[in-house]
Symmetry: C2
Subunit: 356 residues, 2 copies
Amino acid sequence: MAGGHGTRFWPRSRRHIPKQLLPIGGQRSLLQETVRRLHPLFSADRVLVVTNEAHAAAVRRQLPQLRRQQVLAEPQGRNTLACLALAAEWIKARESEATMVVLPADHVISDPRGFRRSLRDGCELAEGKPALVTFGIRPTRPDPGYGYIEVGDPIHDAAGGAAWVRSFREKPAAALAKRYLKSGRYLWNSGMFVWRTSVFDTALEQHAPLVRATLRGVFGSSATKLAGRLRRAYRQLPSIAVDVAVMEPAASRRAGGPRVAVIAADLGWNDVGSWVAMPELWGCDQDGNATAGKVVPIESGNCIVYTPERLVALVGVKDLIVVDSDDALLICARDRAQDVRRVTDELKRRGWVRYL
Amino acid sequence: MAGGHGTRFWPRSRRHIPKQLLPIGGQRSLLQETVRRLHPLFSADRVLVVTNEAHAAAVRRQLPQLRRQQVLAEPQGRNTLACLALAAEWIKARESEATMVVLPADHVISDPRGFRRSLRDGCELAEGKPALVTFGIRPTRPDPGYGYIEVGDPIHDAAGGAAWVRSFREKPAAALAKRYLKSGRYLWNSGMFVWRTSVFDTALEQHAPLVRATLRGVFGSSATKLAGRLRRAYRQLPSIAVDVAVMEPAASRRAGGPRVAVIAADLGWNDVGSWVAMPELWGCDQDGNATAGKVVPIESGNCIVYTPERLVALVGVKDLIVVDSDDALLICARDRAQDVRRVTDELKRRGWVRYL
């Protein structure tokens, strides 16, 4: 899934280059890293990237090892349910039954071996049981910015400490997040999944029959008219997350149909939700400054500085986020990272589209 | 006088482009504005610019209307006494007696008419009396960053409210600066002067005879060997300000010789000592942000932003100085502007000379 826009990473992320196409964590883009860390578990010809029309060309440039049809452009963003129902159709058009691994293209995973181990466990579980398998991250802090998974009964015959999911919890208030952390029964929802296409299809039939019907057979006829068929289908699709539309109802004991399992994964996971995530990726100096690029801090602390080109000197400042780019610079209070989108809103209002 | 280096304006000011060569106040550099505002009082062929060897070429490029010999390069910086003694020699080599106006090239003057009026008054006074004439700026705040001139008896037959100077006071402590302001008897020392060359020569003979002797006749012989003669002379010159070496002792009643007069000048003067001076030049928005360039402030206040090229977005920050340049960016707490030189110190220490 590489369809996001990531305005929270302005001025590095732009209309033409969203977060997942940026080398935020290192040398390669988050998307390139996502494909790369599948090796040797999955070969490149087993990868499908779903992105949007604006970014498909850039995605293809970043992943020259993929054939053209392995990069699929949605005509418009319709959240993860549409994206995954479409991806399942794409796979079904090629193989009647397959195991489908779902990965966001904009996460950082610092332990790729642990990641592949968890993925292998997840595939085994999904292939052995009619389950929608999620990956839960053991929380290290009471972060109210994540969705939480409530862990239920263990699945005794599965590897990797798998369990059934009791419930999904939306981003909780701070106090509730603390209780979740303390209880030890909650995991962060990583947004990564594994399921057999037939099991997902059953779940779609049960919980999102219209979406399933709208996309059914979209890859069946001639490839030349695919774009038109997709455009017509997408106009009718609701914009809804797969977690809300399928996973939450499926987790309910009363639902019947495929159940939801979770594998607690330790993989140095970071969803890189904003610049505030950077200290975890880059480390800090003794004054708490996390920097990427040439930075000269003078009596400055707890700053996050990303400057691939220019030198940045800080004098007597603290708790700042500084992000440089070719034509625009962001200076943001560290506790205001979520307000970076207000800059892009203001740029739109002023008509300064070249900076968007 | 265009010999300064201005490290306080890093990253705009650099080794190769000091403050006076920068267009800090507007479109033209401070030096260009300094020459320009003399018109129509003095024509360009009456201007001598004293700078240093590193900047002479840039000075000539900025002032193509000057002939080569009108830009004089000191072999090393030796403060204002050496600079003015040298300039006086240069003038004497051309005219046996002249009125010499001394102007720093790095000040901003927003009322050029008032400036020329004061200058005319000063010239009249200097031509009528054997006086070293200074220009005092009426203080608008108890600024401890300036030298002060204590005003003595008025000179009744002079224009422009001229008075004799009772004493010069070095940068005072904050409490003393407040008393100076309250008393109404003190003016800021602008560092601008007028005197007849013969009067200045007499004062030099009295207060700085060795400097006078060292530079005497340096322009007399062949121009081809001037550089060598200057280099030898400058090695022996002390580094001392003309205020300390000549003006202060001359202001003392016991001194005899030329006395020191002051003209209280209202000319929108700003010595542009650091980035903190900018709000006065640029004005502020309703949140106290003083900006030059494309700036998008979101809930940010009291910031000073200079960005000729790039867009700068501020989110939830206050009291910052932000200065952008091609290859380096400064972010400095507003009350730490004087510590910008610590950046250049650190750059030297790291050997990152390209940023100096």
